[in-house]
């Protein structure tokens, strides 16, 4: 199949971009969730 490498690269780029973006959102969400728990704990202790 001629130009299959370009076709493969285009599809891979798209899903890589989406995957990296979703991964970055998920890790930021996890960090914020930890921060919320920590701050709530501080409020309970005071």
């Amino acid at each position: 199949m001629k130009n299959f490498n370009f076709l493969f690269a285009a599809w891979m780029v798209v899903w890589a971009v989406f995957f990296v973006y979703e991964f970055s959102i998920a890790s930021r969400l996890a960090r914020l969730q930890e921060e919320i728990e920590r701050l709530k704990q501080q409020l309970r202790e005071r």
Partner: protein, 237 residues
Amino acid sequence: MKRLGITVAAAALIFFAGYAALFIAPDESTMHAIQRVFYVHLPLWMVMYSALTVAFIANIAWLATRQIKWDWLGVSAVEVGVVACTGGLATGVLWGKPAWGIWWTWDARLTTAFLLWLLYIAYLLLRGLLEDPERRATLSAIFGIFAFLDAPLVYASNRLWRTQHPAPVIFGGDNSGLNPTMGKVLVICILAMLPVMILLLVDRYRLERMRHEVEELRLAVEARAADSNPAVTRSTA
């Protein structure tokens, strides 16, 4: 559980769309295999237009109502739009080289699309420079409305001017149109890409809401600390 169901359904649809684009869609007579990039390239631009339209509406809604949820929606939709635009530009470059013999050219379509990407990158950078939430929301909403003016120009560019980018195959006039099977596969690919955009947008909005919650909790902790130890507060004030 509901979210898991939507994610599984979206993944199944994406898998089927990929299969349809690679194996069901007929071969295009001049470009052959590389034309199949079309089934991911065009849906990406549709996702981008949808996300930026949501951002545009959210920007106007913020200026009209001053409800912070519109600012959260605005920045979330812009970020998703920038991701889709990045994918659209990258797939265009990878399609351009085998189809035209060049990676890039500064024709009206490609230039206006690149400008749109730069404008929204500037929108996100601008937000990072502003500390006060209200000022940040207002200035970025005004900038977002200004940036959105380029979106219809991108759409119309290959209708208004002669471009290296092909003439539109959908709503492009008498000489445009798609093979019916190609059209059906394209619709499946668009329907597969839209839930991805919605899931990303929902997650990104949740992130913005949680950031706000963290800020409020920090203020509450500081206020509680000041109440319990006023001497420290006076000495540091």
